[in-house]
């Protein structure tokens, strides 16, 4: 383990904490992870993250556009193990970050999290542990710093690229395999006696693909219906644009 003088801990750290990278925290290489700013083994980083999710209040998964929208094979293959993780965390919620645009005049903090004001969602839902996955790195970093500044949330970044210094725990190069490995770490900790804060299972997915994956049952894929003319659904917004003067 490489010890770091500056510790990346759950906040609130203050009005405007410095970026961890400026304070000397370095990104991990393959096979490593970050835990509180220290470079540790991938296993250790996952254990620290899993422990926080099982034992802190209101654990929440924040899937970003790279998880929500199946625009590449990489994003599509990560969806089933993402639900495996959700299944292993009792009391978990999933709140998406589908978009990076600011949401005005007011967000629904129970429905979305937004990088322009992520702390509103954390505060409203009293979230003390969360995972960001599938969020573009720039917006993840902007978000992670604001959460560390103003909330006591333990942030975890499971990143498909190089990882995130401003998360309390982060693992780089996360694809479907590492998501499955993380789900297994959650299962192992529970087997080894870690008592989750909440009882029961996490989210039980209702989608056909997730049910088929978790249960092994042969569930038929529902036929996709094409609705001609649905383009008008967003038409009004595209036409009007955002009202920048709206409060």
């Amino acid at each position: 383990m490489k010890r770091q003088a500056y510790k990346v801990l759950p906040g609130p750290e203050g009005l405007l904490p410095p970026p961890a990278s400026i304070m000397g925290v370095r990104l991990p290489d393959e096979g490593e992870g970050l835990l509180h700013g220290d470079i540790v083994s991938e296993e250790e980083a996952m254990e620290g993250a899993a422990m926080a999710l099982l034992t802190r209040k209101n654990p929440t998964l924040f899937p970003g556009p790279l998880m929500i929208w199946g625009w590449t094979e990489h994003t599509r293959e990560k969806a089933p193990p993402f639900f495996e993780i959700a299944h292993e965390i009792p009391g978990v919620r999933i709140i998406p970050m589908p978009d990076y645009r600011p949401i005005y005049p007011k967000i629904d903090p129970e429905a979305v999290i937004n990088p322009c004001h992520p702390n509103l969602t954390i505060w409203h839902n009293k979230i003390e542990a969360c995972i960001f996955v599938g969020v573009h790195c720039h917006f993840a970093n902007v978000t992670l710093k604001m959460i560390r500044a103003g909330t006591n949330c333990f942030t975890i970044a499971l990143c498909a690229e190089a990882g995130h210094e401003d998360a309390m725990a982060s693992v780089p190069n996360v694809g479907a395999d590492k998501l499955r490995k993380f789900a297994e770490v959650l299962r192992r900790l529970k087997r080894e006696g870690v008592k989750p804060l909440y009882e029961g299972h996490g989210i039980i997915p209702s989608g056909w693909a997730q049910q088929a994956h978790l249960t092994g049952a042969d569930i038929e894929q529902p036929r996709e219906e094409v609705h001609v003319g649905d383009g008008h659904a967003l038409g009004h917004e595209l036409e009007r644009g955002l009202d920048e003067n709206e409060e």
Binding site: P19, S21, L27, P115, H138, N141, T143, K145
Partner: protein, 416 residues
């Protein structure tokens, strides 16, 4: 009927036989980028066998761009940059670039680079002196947009009276933009640094523009030895979908997850988001250190590391300092040299360590304001060790080694 007739033979006025049969077509030879193979950046930058060639700085940049797998180059002519981009134009004609054009002026050029970079292609531009000043508003917006591109800066005078001669004061304006800024010493650096710039700036955790500066004329128009790998290899293409922000690509849903700026309301949430965004720009620059160390062999180079008098320089001042160190050493002086390769990120820890033992620190510069001296003074302890006054030359002056020796030996202009 034709069987009994002698076949008519056509000739040209010189008596050469004209045949109706065209010569057999040659197999289509691959040219330009199509004839190159993509190699690992480590191989191209560090391990590929190289041959020495004697070329100008502009030609060195051309050879760099030839191997950089650049998609588009846009610029506007200005001395001493024009020759380099003319060389890049030859590359376009030879099939090494997909697009190349002259913008309407530098503001338009830098805006066009922003658009091209947002669309995910590998971009190159170049400018000099007043051109950099004109484009600076847009260039300053590149890092916040997380727009990887390489900008070559061939430094020249920017202030009145008008002059086209060497002077690198313009780099002081680049220090606060958030761009990565490398300062090339010679023709070799001007070949190597742009290639490194593309690879570092496009790393997902970095995703920033990289400016590669060089002192105009001294390097761009003079010849020097440059070690080049074969021309049949090139860098991997830009992997835009792995970068820190989504591309402006309408074929990828949802198109509106774009990099819209936060709507600037008069409230703390808006301010905080913008603050965190700005922090992220500089944090990304910090992350480039790992890759600069890997491909530049460190952010600094040290010559005679135990000497009591240390010269600290960047750009062409390094070459003059090398010669001054050689001559001073012949005269029995104890003098060393720190070459700064990367101005942003600045080699803070490296300088503190390299200068820890030094009793006198001399910082020669090709500008009046002494921006490098300010930078060094900001990070090292015991700043009284920095000899005041430089030496500095500007307005097109060269930096004779005699001037440097006066500072090293404490004579003439260097009696401080």
């Amino acid at each position: 009927m034709a069987e009994g007739l002698e076949e008519e033979v056509k000739t040209n006025p010189q008596g050469d036989v004209i045949t109706a049969t065209a010569p057999p077509p040659k197999l289509e030879e691959k040219k330009g980028a199509a004839a190159q193979r993509v190699v690992d950046p480590d191989y191209l930058l560090l391990h590929a066998p190289r041959k020495k060639t004697f070329i100008t700085g502009s030609e060195a940049a051309k050879e760099s761009i030839r191997r950089a797998n650049v998609d588009i180059a846009i610029s506007y002519p200005i001395t001493p940059q024009s020759e380099t981009m003319q060389q890049v134009g030859y590359l376009y004609a030879e099939g090494y670039l997909k697009d190349y054009y002259r913008g309407e002026e530098e503001y338009g050029v830098m805006s066009a680079i922003a658009g091209a970079s947002r669309s995910g292609v590998r971009c190159l531009s170049a400018t000099a002196g007043p051109g950099l000043m004109r484009g600076l508003e847009v260039i300053s917006s590149w890092p916040g947009g997380r727009l990887p591109a390489v900008l070559l800066i061939m430094c020249r005078v920017i202030n009145a009276p008008l002059a086209i001669q060497p002077d690198n004061v313009e780099l002081s304006y680049m220090l606060s933009t958030g761009c990565i800024l490398l300062h090339a010493e010679n023709q070799q650096d001007f070949y190597d640094y742009p290639l490194v710039g593309f690879m570092v700036g496009e790393k997902p955790e970095v995703t920033l523009p990289v400016a590669v500066a060089v002192d105009g004329f001294f390097v761009t128009h003079a010849r020097g030895w440059v070690r080049l790998p074969e021309a049949d290899i090139k860098l991997p293409p830009r992997q835009c979908y792995h970068e820190a922000v989504p591309m402006m690509d309408n074929e990828n849903p949802p198109i509106r997850i774009s990099r819209d700026a936060p709507i600037q309301k008069s409230n703390f949430i808006s301010y905080q988001m913008h603050a965190s965004w700005q922090q992220e720009i500089w944090a990304a620059g910090e992350r480039s250190r790992k890759w600069l160390n890997r491909w530049l062999g460190g952010l600094i180079e040290v010559v005679n590391p135990t000497a009591k008098t240390m010269i600290v320089a960047s750009g062409a001042a390094v070459s003059q300092s090398r010669e001054a160190v050689r001559q001073a050493t012949e005269q029995g002086a104890d003098v060393g040299l720190v070459k700064i390769k990367s101005i942003r990120p600045f080699p803070t820890e490296e300088l503190i360590e390299a200068l820890d033992h030094a009793e006198r620190i001399i910082i020669p510069e090709f500008n009046y304001v002494g921006w490098l001296a300010r930078e060094v003074r900001n990070v090292i302890p015991r700043t009284e060790r920095v000899v005041p006054g430089g030496p500095r030359v500007f307005g097109g002056m060269s930096m004779p080694t005699e001037l440097l020796l006066e500072y090293v030996l404490g004579t003439g202009s260097g009696r401080h």
